[in-house]
């Protein structure tokens, strides 16, 4: 995942000892990963921000039993998900809608930055990526996101998604297979469009 430089490792051991400056450093280091994951899970901006604050406040005053920077990141992502889940679960109950479906739905949004590529090409690229991900279930999307964007290991993904490691591997390999299989169908759809 993130390349740990000697500086990072030094800061990390200071963080474990409860150093303030190192604490601020890792707060800023992880906040956007956490924010992005919270929003991807369907959380509202302010709710996600508050949840992140609570998380760090708690960590500050607790024993920091983290074996590595990766471990800390995984712990933060998992705790954020649990916290958001609890918030939205209690909201759903209080709104008396009952929890018939998942309180949180993972989604993936593609952004193509406008550096050199022109607008028309950007639209096509975005469409192609979206089409690739279209046929995945929300759980498959989340697994893929954690694996390839947040770059977590299977063991950590399994923990976060509350499944076995074996199931996590299967979830991801099935997603990749689905990506492959989806292509011919889409191709046919496109040709039909041209015919009509």
């Amino acid at each position: 995942m993130n390349i740990a430089t000697p500086d990072h490792i030094r800061l990390f051991s200071k963080f474990i000892e409860g150093d303030n400056e190192a604490f601020s450093f890792f707060y800023e280091f992880f906040i956007n990963d956490l924010y992005a994951y919270g929003i991807s899970l369907g959380g509202e901006k302010e709710v996600v921000k508050d949840a992140i604050q609570d998380l760090f406040l708690k960590i500050y005053f607790e024993e920091k039993n983290f074996s590595s920077i990766d471990h800390l990141k995984y712990f933060l992502l998992k705790s954020l998900k649990n916290r958001l889940y609890n918030i939205y679960k209690s909201k759903a109950v209080s709104a008396s809608t009952g929890i018939s479906k998942d309180v949180m739905e993972f989604s993936i949004t593609t952004t193509v930055l406008d550096e050199i590529i022109n607008e028309e090409d950007r639209a096509i690229i975005k469409q192609q990526v979206d089409a690739l991900l279209l046929n995945l279930t929300t759980r498959q999307k989340e697994a893929i996101y954690l694996r390839f964007i947040q770059e977590l290991g299977y063991e950590e993904i399994a923990e976060i998604m509350d499944i076995t490691q074996h199931a996590a591997r299967k979830l991801i390999s099935r997603s990749l297979k689905r990506l492959r299989d989806s292509e011919p169908t889409l191709f046919i759809c496109l040709s039909l469009l041209f015919l009509s």
């Binding site: 601020s24 707060y27 800023e28 906040i31 956007n32 924010y35 992005a36 994951y37 929003i39 991807s40 921000k49 992140i52 604050q53 760090f56 406040l57 500050y60 005053f61 993936i108 949004t109 593609t110 952004t111 193509v112 930055l113 550096e115 050199i116 590529i117 090409d121 096509i124 690229i125 192609q128 990526v129 089409a131 690739l132 893929i144 996101y145 390839f148 964007i149 990749l176 990506l179 492959r180 292509e183």
Partner: protein, 398 residues
């Protein structure tokens, strides 16, 4: 998968190819082998594919949700305030050990030329501001934090950070006990310097060059009031019970919890307030005295000598200076030069014949002034020279 179709592909064509995207997204062994075979078949494609990979890495993001830099530093500051509150509750011992450290830190002391009335605790902040002399501290080479008549902290960083946390005041590397400061503190940020300050309630302000801020070390239970001569961008912590009031010579701005920019330099003809979020109410001290003007986000209030206007603007442009950027649109060159003078703390003389030139663009204030003026003179019909005393002169290009 056919390989032939790639023969004449450009880098952007690859980015539109689903197989290429899949390879970049998930980097599976199977995809890697396939793309190796493509390059083997058409070696000319190697550089194009490399280019496409760079384009992909630079431009394509999944779930790219971020908080802005100012949002992050704002939330870090509020987290620290929460931590300090909790610490205070949790343990008396921690506070004591901080005090011990604070006591051992040396503090620079200079004598001040004004009379500080320590007894009069009810003195209004605006009245207090008026009693201070129009000092030329703004041309000093250091930022000054004046805590009391005989306690001034000198900060020589270009960008200083001051935090009021619990019983202590952190100013760059100095740690001072709050009890050493008197009722009102002053932060003087001279030309060429910037600073940021976090008040006791967690409110954070970014202070632009050539600005003076006066505020109490601890806000009272009923209200939060600060006085500004100059420019700040401020993110006010919400506290429904204690409105936050920003006083300037010309107007008062009341808020509950919001983000906005105030530019009220005494020597600028137009003072303005730009609102990012929340809502504020403004009352002028010179005209329409009983009227309160309410701003909604992305509106700018401008206070002229004896009238005012409200217009819709892109508020984010007005706070770019806090990140070291300056964007302007059909702004007169003379005004741009005034801002640069303040920001860099260097005198720039501008020929009146070109002061009215309208310019649009964006400048990176992290560059040095020389580079910046070179860029300006490339875009405009002007030339500049540096004088022996370090100041600059700008003339029309002949």
């Amino acid at each position: 998968m056919q390989i032939e179709k790639y023969k004449y592909y450009s880098a952007v064509d690859f980015l539109k190819d689903r197989d290429f995207l899949k390879w970049q997204l998930f980097n599976s062994e199977e995809d890697r082998l396939f793309w190796n075979s493509v390059v083997k078949e058409y070696p000319v494609l190697e550089s194009t594919i490399k280019e496409a990979i760079v384009l992909y890495k630079d431009n394509i993001r999944l779930n790219d949700f971020r908080m802005s830099r100012s949002e992050i530093s704002g939330s870090l500051a509020s987290l620290q305030t929460q931590i300090n509150k909790k610490k205070k509750r949790n343990s008396r011992r921690i506070v004591l050990s901080i005090s011990a450290v604070a006591a051992s830190i040396a503090i620079f002391i200079i004598s001040l030329h004004f009379i500080f009335n320590k007894e009069n605790h009810v003195q209004d902040i605006a009245t207090f501001a008026q009693t201070l002399p129009d000092n030329n501290n703004l041309y000093s080479s250091d930022t000054k934090l004046i805590l009391s008549e005989n306690n001034t902290v000198t900060l020589n960083n270009t960008e200083s950070s001051i935090e009021y946390e619990g019983d202590a005041i952190k100013a760059d590397n100095n740690l001072i006990l709050k009890e050493e400061s008197s009722l009102y503190n002053q932060l003087i940020t001279p030309y060429g310097k910037r600073s940021s300050i976090t008040f006791s309630d967690g409110t954070k302000a970014w202070v632009n060059a050539g600005s003076r801020l006066i505020y109490p070390a601890e806000f009272s239970k009923e209200k939060r009031e600060i006085y500004v001569d100059g420019e700040i961008y401020i993110e006010v912590s919400e506290d429904k019970k204690r409105p936050f009031v920003i006083k300037t010579k010309q107007m008062d701005i009341s808020v509950l919890g919001t983000k906005f920019n105030v530019s009220a330099y005494e020597d600028d003809k137009i003072k303005n307030v730009v609102l990012l979020s929340g809502s504020v109410s403004i009352s002028s001290n010179t005209h329409n005295k009983d009227k309160e003007i309410i701003l909604t986000p992305n509106q700018m209030y401008s206070d002229l000598e004896n009238s005012y206007s409200v217009e819709n603007v892109d508020a984010s442009v007005y706070i770019l200076w806090a990140q070291g950027l300056y964007q302007f649109e059909s702004e007169e060159l003379g005004n741009i030069i005034t801002r640069l003078e303040r920001y860099y703390g260097i005198k720039i003389e501008c020929d009146t014949a070109i002061a009215g030139l309208k310019c649009s663009g964006k400048l990176d204030l992290k560059d040095d002034l020389n580079k910046l003026l070179t860029e300006l003179s490339r875009a405009l019909p002007i030339k500049y020279r540096q004088n022996a005393n370090g100041s600059y002169t700008i003339n029309i290009k002949s």
